[in-house]
Structure formats: structure tokens, C-alpha cells
Amino acid sequence: MSDTYTLYNPTVMDHFMNPRNMGDLRDADGVGEVGAAACGDIMKISLKIRDGKIEDARFKTFGCGSAIASSSMATELIKGRTIEEAMTFSNQEVVNALGGLPPVKIHCSVLAEEALKAALEDYVKRHPELAERAAAAEPVSA
């Protein structure tokens, strides 16, 4: 790629060309699919969760290069995190890890955050006991 001009920086280009964790998870524990009304991108994230930890993550994305790279990076970043950690995940982490995105493309990283949160919500919905535990813990952590 030397002497080649690219729209995004090398990290973004790498994640676009060689996306990590692309695909679906058989028997996923949580799946989130979200869309950006603004540009029409759609992103889906599937999670495998064991013992409160994200063991595996996969994405599928209908969208531009930075949307694909953002979902690839997001899945990389959250693998190994606990659900609680993942709940506070922010798009800024994606932007930073990618070494920056053009201003007009920041919303792609937001979409990745939203897809992850939707997948976590789906997991929580399937596991009502978690919500109860969290509610009980809340007064302490607040």
C-alpha cells in the first residue's frame, strides 16, 4: 500500500480490508441490529457470553468503509470484557483505536456502540435474573 492514497488512515483501511470477527455466531447469547437513519448503514453484532464475560463477538455490516472498520474494531475491543465493562463502552474508544475517523464518519463508530449495546440488551432480556442482580447492586454502586 506504499505510494497509495487512501480515504482513511492505514488502521481503518486494514480493518476495512481484513475485518476481524466478521460473521455470525451459532447460538449467540445476544444479538443487536441497529441502523443509522442519517446514512442508511445497518450493523449487527452477535455476542457469546460466558460467566458474565464476552467470550466472542461477531459483526455484520451494511455500510461504508468506516462503518465496517468501526464494527471490526468494536468487536476486537470488547472481547474479554465483562458485561458491566461492556455497558460503559463508548464510540470514542473505537475512534481512538482506529487512530481517528473523518468528522463526517464519526457516526459510524456511534453505530458500533449502539449495535453492541443492543446485543447486550438482548442478552439481558434473555436473562432477567441479571437485571434483578444489577438492580439489587445499584444502591451500592451509586
Binding site: E33, A38, C39, I42, K60, F62, G65
Partner: protein
Amino acid sequence: MRQVYLDHQSATPLLPEAFEAMRPYFTEYYGNASSLHQHGLRVRDALKKARQQMAALIHAESEDEIFFTSDGTESANLAIKGVAYANERKGKHLVISATEHPSVVNSVEFLEKQGWTCTRVPVDREGRVDLKGLEAAITPQTVLVALHHVNHDIGTIQPVVEAGKICAKAGVPLYVDCEASAGWLPIDVREFGAALVSFSPHRFYGPKGVGVLYRNKRARIVSILHGGVQEGGRRAGTENIPAIVGAGVAAEVAARELPQWRAHTAVLQKRLWDGLSRDIPFIKLNGPIPGPDRVSTNINISTEFIEGEGQLLLCDLNGIAVASGSSCVSKSLKISHVLSAIGLDHALAQGNLILTLGKDNTEADMDYVVETFVRIVDKLRGMSPMWEEFERGVIDSVIAPRGFGKSFSEHAAAVSGKAAH
């Protein structure tokens, strides 16, 4: 890696003979055309010659009907605002088609803020303007009708001769934006019955930095860039002589080579679309089929279940330079208004790609593009949740509906919580 440039609508390389003609005007014949000495008079001659070359390309009666501007955008601005301001007393109504270039659309919007009104005449699903609608739109207050010759996005050839007749009957000047046709289709301003015609030589291997406006002597127009008395007082500012000289040469070459260029690109166009439609399922050509209704240089496709920017980037990484009308590609995050105007489903507009051919493309290039694009589509569909959902029967195809599943747009609206725009 093979390099295939398929973005001739955006830029073309300068003809070597145009460059050679320009060269002395940079460092030797550098005079200002307004100067009364040798240096000025010499370039004045060059300016006159370029005007004649432009007039010949579009069959204008006289070189005095040719004005040079800085680009096609400025020519469009001058045509629209120059005529509007000149005829303000007569009326403040304009008529344009729904698929004009932004340089026309946004000039009109500017005038609307200043009290003008405008009727936008719809186009059919292939982008052809509704002539009855155009005729009906003209009022006694109408001072200008604007209709492009060829659409920049989807290559539709407009019925300009018929539009010219309607305008002549109504006594309203017709402005034809020939940016996407000049050099590629014959233009005869008299046959068009056009009062104004604009184009930009950088679309047919001329240099950037120069645009052309033809104005029939009878059409009233005032200047929009004010200052000196250059271009008969219609366009102030020091003339860009080297570019004008190069543009003249490009016009001469284009006038001569047009039939060959056209025939050559028509063959490539057919080969490209035949290959793509043969090898890729769920792909749609936007605009008329290759033939008399479509300019030979343009292929505009929508590939279902995948988005345009990703296609564009993967093409680029494979040496293929293309454009897209999808919203992710535009700085405004809006899909091309041309695709909206032809009623293209939002999902298809998102998967849009624009391939524009040139004289130096080859048949082998086309085959390489088809081959490569098959792989690109496979890769992107493999990543696309929509493709998976289509395969699972959750959503249906717009291009070849199976009769079950939600539409893509319904699905997109559901997951995004809002309707796509």
C-alpha cells in the same frame, strides 16, 4: 495491477497536444488579454482562436457568442442568475427539470431566497423529463427554462430539441447544460433552439480552470462576477489564457474524434453492462439501457444488499476508479437527488456506483472490471446483514422480488427507529 480509470465524469487527463499548445502561454506569452501592447495583443489572438474552436464544436453562429468562465459551475450560475437578473422586470419564474446538476439547482435555490419562484418538472423512472409537464410549467412570468442535455449521474439523454420547440413557442429562452454531453454527443445549439448552452472542456480531455457559456445574441444576460470589462462585460477577471488555449485545442480534437470516441465507448458500455448483469445477481442499471437514449460513457448501477462506498473503496484497491451516488459518499450524507427523482428505492440508491468511460479504456479493462466486481460484491455481501436476512427470507429483493419477506426499507426503518431518507 491493472489500472482502470472509470471516473471520466469527474476528470479526464489533459490531451498531450492541448498541453503542448498551452505550454508557451505560461512563461513566454504570459500577457494579459486586456493589455494594449504586444504581450496583450498576442494572447488576444489566442483567445479569439479558442472562441472559434468552441463555436465550431457546438455549431454556434459566431465566436462572439462564446464566453469563457472558470468552470461548468460558474457557467451554470451565469446562465441561471445572469438571465434571471437581466429579465427581472419581465418576471421572476424559472422552470428546471428535477434532475439538474447542483450548480443549477443551487443557483435556483439562491434566487428563490431573493424572491424568484421555480417549478421543478418531474422525470420518468429512466430520468427523462416530462415534456407535457415542462410545457405546462411555463407561465407568462417565466424567464428561463433549464434542461440538461445528458444527466451527469445516470446518462439519460434529454429531449432537448422538443424542449427547444416548446420554449420557442412560449417565447422563453432555453438553457441547456451540456457538461455531461460535450465531446461525447453532437451538439448543435441552433438545432436545440437553445439560447444558452454551457459545458466544461475538462470533461473531454481539456484542462481544468475553464468553462464555456454559449449565449445566443438575442438572449439578455448580465454579469454575475463584477469588475473589469473582460468577455464583453459579461465576465470580469483576468482571462486564464493557457487553459483557454488548451480548451480550444481539446474542442477541436473532440469535434474531430467524437464519432470514434462515441462508437468505442458504446462498445465498452455494452460489454460492461452485459458482463455485470450476466455475472452478478440482484444488480440493476439506472437510467435507460445502452442505446440511443443513453450517453455512451455512463453506466450507473445499484447492487442490492451492499453499500456504495465500500464498493468504491474495494474497486480502488483493485485499481479501478469509480464514483458513487450513495449517501455515504457525499459530504452531506444524502443520496444523489437524481436517484431520488427517478424514484429509486432507498436500498438501491445506497448501493449505487457510477462508472464513466473514456477513450482510453479497453475491452480487457471491462472484463477485468466485471471479474473484479464479482469478487467485490461477494465479499461485501458476505459481510452484509441484509444479504443474510435476504437469504433467510426475512427481507425481499427490490430488483427481483420473491414475494415474501419485508422490504429492505421497512427493515432498515425498523432497526434504525426512523425512516431512511
